[in-house]
């Protein structure tokens, strides 16, 4: 079996008496979409935070491409190749999607402390931003302020930011949330092809999309991974159904 690109080893995080993440170990292998599902309050967001670097785990390790990144900042992890999309769109609202995406391309290209030249006229950054915007189908709306974009368009802009980072791993927190049928179809097709560029850890509530896309699914309940398996295995599991239906004995 191929070496995992992203590996979580025994991650734990408690808030007071609440174990938000309880000894979670997960692998993300090359070329796969690994979906993370679970009922509300299962600890998905806390887990995402620990992978992205915004939440410090109490115990456990995060490995990216054979390198431990547990102690790195959010920015350092992004530089190491971890592209994260937020559950609630996190974009600069007063500027265009293009400016947001270009900054991601700039983060990828480096030269942050360059005081000369013009970032907006840099053809390399412009090309990277344009390509990312085109892949999510946002070219026509790329130059108006994000505040004037629809909710779905903002999700796409956020996705374009992740693409512009040309990462080794995508960490997507509910990218389908709030998208219409068109947007969901478009994003599903995009993610389907994207897994071959970089594997995707996908947190998603849209079960249709999850079962259509995922190579493997992990089910998180009360901070623990109760099962990892193929979509068929997950569908067949009594334990998972109980967790979702709240019939735990």
């Amino acid at each position: 079996m191929a070496e995992p690109i992203l590996a979580l080893r025994g991650l734990s995080k408690s808030f007071g008496a609440l174990k938000a993440t309880d000894d979670v170990s997960l692998d993300l292998r090359p070329g796969e979409i690994h979906a993370l599902i679970g009922p509300n309050g299962a600890g998905k967001s806390t887990l995402i935070g620990q992978i992205a670097g915004s939440v410090v785990p109490d115990a456990g390790e995060v490995w990216l491409g054979g390198r431990q990144i547990t102690g790195l900042s959010v920015a350092a992890r992004a530089r190491a190749g971890l592209a994260r999309s937020f559950q609630v769109s996190s974009l600069a609202m007063e500027v265009s999607a293009r400016v947001n995406v270009r900054l991601a391309a700039q983060g990828r290209a480096g030269g942050t402390y360059r005081l000369w030249g013009s970032a907006s006229r840099d053809s390399r950054l412009a090309a990277a931003a344009e390509a990312a915007l085109a892949r999510v189908g946002l070219e026509a709306r790329a130059d108006i302020p994000v505040a004037e974009l629809s909710h779905g368009e903002r999700r796409l802009a956020e996705m374009a930011c992740a693409l512009a980072l040309a990462p080794r791993v995508f960490l997507l927190d509910e990218p389908m949330a709030g998208l219409g049928a068109d947007g969901t179809a478009r994003l599903t097709a995009l993610l389907d092809g994207l897994r071959h560029e970089a594997p995707i850890l996908l947190v998603e509530h849209d079960m249709d999309a999850v079962f259509r896309l995922a190579d493997r699914i992990s089910v998180l309940v009360y901070g623990r991974v109760i099962l990892t398996g193929t979509p068929d295995e997950i569908r067949a599991s009594r334990e998972v159904r109980e967790a979702y239906l709240g019939e735990e004995a």
């Binding site: 920015a75 007063e94 500027v95 947001n100 270009r102 900054l103 030269g111 970032a119």
Partner: protein
């Protein structure tokens, strides 16, 4: 672009008024225009931190004053014929502005790095208060530094010199200050469009986005804060030479507030906003100040109006909303 035209008009207005006053034999007005020019430069510097980087610093008087003390201390030692430092190496005083500016800008840069390194660990109201607290520390250092005049400050009997100019001539000194302002405007314009400026602006707009893009917000902000403080220090050095005086008043929090007020009047984050703000400020101070001691009440009312009804400041009224890149 309309804002570009407004900016050009504002920039042209300063030398036009100065030349007009000179032609009319009103040297006092040349001095006033020079004052507006220097305050505008300070505003340009603060605007880089406040407008571009979103750092609401109430401590920039520290950097303004450090620049002022550089001019005052250098002149003091030249006048007294004593060295600035006797040990471990001898540093003589100088009346050469380029050297004074270099020293003042370097000192302010170091101070800004130290103050910024601590202050930028906080945000919002905490950041405002901690920058204020640091500036007050520098203020009391100035008050207690008896060798350099303590509370009374230092007079600059003879304006410091600039190679090839007679700085004692009001018009030539104005030209020098105006050249510094132009350099400041050009610098902030260039920095804003650079990769660094884009990152600094994103630190203001959405810090999480900046970090997710692989750029650490803290060092970006710190670099912006230091650069901002250095520009303000140059303004401070010019201001001391304009007034022939440097003292704790240059370091006081009133001064920080004044610089911030003229940035807000002109339009936060607008390249030439501080020019408009400084001209309005000096005009108010001069004419209303001549009519009543309570002129700041009226300035406050104008400020209130700008904050409530014209978020883009004077530039916003003249040139419309900020352009979206």
């Amino acid at each position: 672009m309309r804002e570009g035209l407004v900016n050009l008009a504002l920039i042209a207005l300063l030398p036009l008024v100065a030349l007009g006053a000179q032609a009319a034999g009103e040297t006092y007005f040349v001095t006033l225009v020079t004052k507006a020019t220097i305050l505008a430069l300070a505003g340009i510097g603060l605007n880089l931190a406040l407008g571009v980087g979103g750092m609401v610093s109430l401590g920039h008087a520290a950097f303004f004053g450090i620049g002022g003390y550089a001019a005052g201390i250098a002149a003091h030692h030249v006048f007294a014929g004593t060295p600035v430092l006797g040990w471990p190496l001898t540093v003589e005083g100088t009346d050469q502005m380029p050297l004074i500016w270099l020293a003042g800008i370097a000192a302010a840069g170091l101070a800004a790095a130290a103050i910024g390194a601590v202050s930028l660990r906080t945000q919002g109201v905490h950041f405002i208060m901690i920058t204020l607290a640091f500036a007050q520390m520098v203020y009391y250092l100035g008050v207690s530094w008896k060798a350099y005049g303590g509370e009374d400050g230092l007079p600059i009997y003879l304006r410091n010199q600039f190679p090839g100019l007679d700085t004692g001539d009001a018009m030539q000194f104005f030209a020098l200050a105006f050249a510094c302002l132009l350099a400041g405007v050009a610098l902030v314009w260039q920095v804003s469009r650079s990769r660094f400026g884009q990152a600094l602006a994103m630190a203001r707009m959405n810090e999480a986005r900046l970090a997710a893009s692989g750029i650490s917000p803290y060092p970006v902000r710190l670099a912006g804060f230091v650069l901002s403080g250095m520009i303000v220090a140059l303004a401070g050095a010019l201001f001391a030479d304009l007034n022939g005086f440097t003292g704790p008043s240059m370091l006081s929090w009133h001064r920080s507030g004044e610089i911030m007020v003229l940035v807000i009047l002109g339009g936060v984050g607008r390249l030439c906003g501080p020019l408009a703000g400084a001209m309005l400020f000096v005009a108010f101070e001069t004419w209303l100040g001549g009519l009543t001691d309570r002129w700041q009440l009226f300035l406050g009312l104008v400020l209130l109006g700008v904050v409530l009804f014209a978020r883009g400041g004077l530039i916003g009224m003249l040139a419309g909303r900020a352009r979206h890149g």
